[in-house]
C-alpha cells in the first residue's frame, strides 16, 4: 500500500488505530511490526467492510486480522526470537474477545495505551523524539502530519521516528507502566510532552500563524486520553484543565487580520463558556487533596482570568498569591516574569518594572516576552523613549509573524509619543 493511502486509512481509523497499535505492541514487542500489521488490517477493513458489511465487533475483527498477519510475518523470519514472539501472540489470543469490552471497564486496552505513553516519553529518548513518537503513536497523526507539526520535511521526520524506534528496540526500553513508587518521577516527562505540543500550538515559535489550532486540538485530545487512563493523578487533571482554560480564549486571541489581541482587549463574551466550566471543575479536583502541583497552579491562574469580566475586575491579588505558590513548587525565570506583571497590576507599573529589571540579568535577556512586558510598563509610566528601546529589543528575538507585527505597532506608537 502506498504511503498516502496508508495515511488516509489511518485518518479514518485514527482513534481505533491508536488502540489497536498499543495492544499489538505489547503482543509483538516491536513498534515497526505492530505499525505494519495495524495499517494492513485497516487497509483490509476499508476494502471488505463496504462489501461484506461492518462486523459486529469491529475492534476485535481488526485485532484478529492484524494478529494473523503478524504471525505470518514472524513465521517467515524463522529466528528463535520470532518463534518466541509467535508463542506469546498465540497465548494472548483469548484477549481478542475482550477487546470490545464496554467503555469504563478496567480494560486491557487502556493499560496498553498507558504503557505506550510511558515508552514514547521515556527519559532515555531525546526530548524531540518523545514529542514526535507521542504525536505519531498516541495521537495517531501520520508521519507527514507530525512533520508539519515540527515544520520539518517529511523525510526528516521519518528519519527521526526511525532512529527513535531503533533506540527503543536496541536499548531495550520496555513497554510497561511504571510502578506506583516510580510514577512521580516518570509522569512529569509524559505531561511535559503533551504540554510542549500545546504551547507550540498556542504560541507557535516560528512561522506565519500565531495559533496552530490543529496542534491545540491534538494536545487536548492527548490530555483527555491521559486523564481517562490516570483519573486519580491530580497533575494530569491540572494539565487538562490548564489547556482547556487557555484554549477557551482561542477565538479572541487574534483578530480578523490574524493579529495578536492582548488579554485586556479580548472580547470576553466570545470565550468558550462550556470549556471554561469543564476546566474549572477539573481545577477544583487538581487543587484538592494535597499540595497543588505546577500544572494545577497554572490552571488556577488561567481560571481566575477566565472568570473575570474585565482586566480591571480581575482578582490580581489572588493571581499574585498563586504565582507565589508556583515559584515555590516550580521556580523558573518565566514564572518570575509573569509574577512581576501581576504584581504591577496590584502595586503599579514602577514596582513591576523594578522586578523585571532584576530578571533581565537572570538569563532572560533573550526572552522576548520580558522586553515586551518592560515596554508595556514603561508605556504606562509615560517613559516612551525607553519603551521604544524595550520593543526594539523584543523584536530581535520574536519568532512568529503576528507577534512581530504587534510589537512593531507598539514600537511605532511609543516612538510617536516620545516625539510628541
Amino acid at each position: 500500500m502506498s504511503g498516502r493511502a496508508a495515511d488516509s486509512a489511518e485518518a479514518v481509523f485514527r482513534e481505533e488505530w491508536g488502540r489497536l497499535l498499543a495492544t499489538l505492541v505489547r503482543w509483538v514487542g516491536d513498534l515497526d511490526l505492530a505499525e505494519e500489521v495495524a495499517a494492513e488490517a485497516i487497509a483490509v477493513a476499508l476494502e471488505r467492510w463496504p462489501v461484506d458489511g461492518v462486523p459486529d465487533n469491529p475492534a476485535g475483527w481488526l485485532l484478529t486480522t492484524a494478529r494473523r498477519r503478524a504471525v505470518d510475518l514472524l513465521r517467515r523470519r524463522q529466528t528463535y526470537a520470532a518463534k518466541l514472539t509467535i508463542l506469546r501472540v498465540e497465548a494472548e489470543r483469548a484477549e481478542t474477545e475482550r477487546f470490545d469490552a464496554p467503555a469504563g471497564d478496567p480494560d486491557v486496552i487502556g493499560d496498553d495505551r498507558l504503557r505506550l505513553f510511558f515508552t514514547c516519553c521515556h527519559p532515555a529518548l531525546a526530548a524531540e523524539a518523545r514529542v514526535a513518537l507521542t504525536l505519531r503513536y498516541l495521537a495517531g497523526l501520520s508521519t507527514a502530519e507530525v512533520a508539519r507539526a515540527f515544520l520539518v520535511p517529511d523525510t526528516t521526520m521519518a528519519q527521526r521516528l526511525v532512529r527513535a524506534k531503533r533506540k527503543i528496540r536496541e536499548a531495550g526500553i520496555p513497554y510497561r507502566v511504571p510502578s506506583a513508587d516510580e510514577l512521580p518521577t516518570r509522569l512529569p516527562a509524559v505531561l511535559s510532552v503533551v504540554y510542549v505540543v500545546f504551547t507550540e500550538a498556542y504560541a507557535a515559535s516560528h512561522g506565519p500563524a500565531l495559533i496552530r489550532p490543529e496542534l491545540a486540538d491534538e494536545a487536548i485530545r492527548l490530555g483527555r486520553i491521559l486523564h481517562g487512563l490516570l483519573p486519580a493523578e491530580r497533575e494530569v487533571a491540572g494539565l487538562l484543565a490548564l489547556m482547556l482554560l487557555i484554549d477557551a480564549r482561542r477565538a479572541t486571541r487574534t483578530d480578523e487580520a490574524g493579529e495578536l489581541v492582548l488579554l485586556e482587549d479580548q472580547d470576553r463574551s466570545q470565550w468558550d463558556r462550556a470549556q471554561i466550566e469543564e476546566g474549572r471543575s477539573l481545577v477544583v479536583a487538581a487543587l484538592t487533596g494535597g499540595p497543588p502541583g505546577p500544572y494545577a497552579l497554572q490552571a488556577a491562574i488561567a481560571a481566575v482570568h477566565d472568570e473575570a469580566a474585565t482586566v480591571e475586575t480581575t482578582d490580581w491579588v489572588q493571581i499574585v498569591g498563586l504565582y507565589d505558590a508556583l515559584r515555590e513548587t516550580a521556580p523558573s525565570p518565566v514564572v518570575e516574569l509573569n509574577r512581576a506583571v501581576a504584581v504591577a497590576m496590584v502595586h503599579g507599573p514602577a514596582y513591576g518594572l523594578r522586578l523585571l529589571d532584576d530578571l533581565a540579568g537572570a538569563g532572560l535577556d533573550q526572552y522576548h516576552p520580558l522586553h515586551a512586558a518592560r515596554g508595556r510598563l514603561l508605556d504606562r509610566l509615560g517613559r516612551y523613549r525607553e519603551a521604544a528601546r524595550a520593543y526594539r529589543r523584543a523584536l530581535e528575538f520574536v519568532g512568529n509573524e503576528p507577534e512581530r507585527a504587534f510589537l512593531t505597532r507598539c514600537l511605532t506608537t511609543a516612538e510617536e509619543r516620545a516625539l510628541g
Partner: protein
C-alpha cells in the same frame, strides 16, 4: 538483555584521606555483593588509572603506540559491570544504585545481539 554499565569519573590528583578511601571501598563492596547476590551479574572489574593506559592503532602496516587514553576528557573510564536483566529500566536501576552514579556518571550500553 545484556548491558554494560560503564563507570566514568574524574580522577583525583591527590590521594584522599584514608577514612574517605575506606568509606568509599565499603560502598563499592556492598554494591558488588548486592549485584552478585541478585543473579544479574556477569562480570565486573575496576581499572587502573588512565595514566597507565596505552593507545595503539595501525597506520597502514605501521603500529603506532602512544601514551595515555585515546580521548582527553575530564571523566575517564574507571571500571564496568556486565549484567543480564530484562530491560533498560532494570539496567538503569542498577546503574543508579552504583556508587559511580554518585561520584561521576554511569553510561548504560546494551550489548549487541546477533540472530543465530
Amino acid at each position: 538483555m545484556q548491558y554494560l554499565l560503564l563507570i566514568y569519573s574524574e580522577e583525583s590528583t591527590a590521594p584522599p584521606p584514608q577514612d574517605e578511601i575506606d568509606a568509599s571501598m565499603a560502598e563499592w563492596y556492598a554494591y558488588t555483593k548486592a549485584i552478585r547476590d541478585s543473579g544479574v551479574h556477569l562480570a565486573g572489574e575496576a581499572l587502573q588509572p588512565s595514566q597507565t593506559a596505552t593507545t595503539v592503532r595501525l597506520k597502514g602496516d605501521e603500529r603506532v603506540v602512544t601514551d595515555g587514553p585515546f580521548a582527553e576528557t575530564r571523566e575517564v573510564l574507571g571500571g564496568f559491570y556486565l549484567i543480564d536483566v530484562p530491560d533498560l529500566d532494570t539496567a538503569l536501576d542498577w546503574a543508579a544504585r552504583c556508587p559511580g552514579a554518585k561520584y561521576g556518571s554511569m553510561e548504560v550500553r546494551p550489548v549487541m545481539e546477533f540472530d543465530a
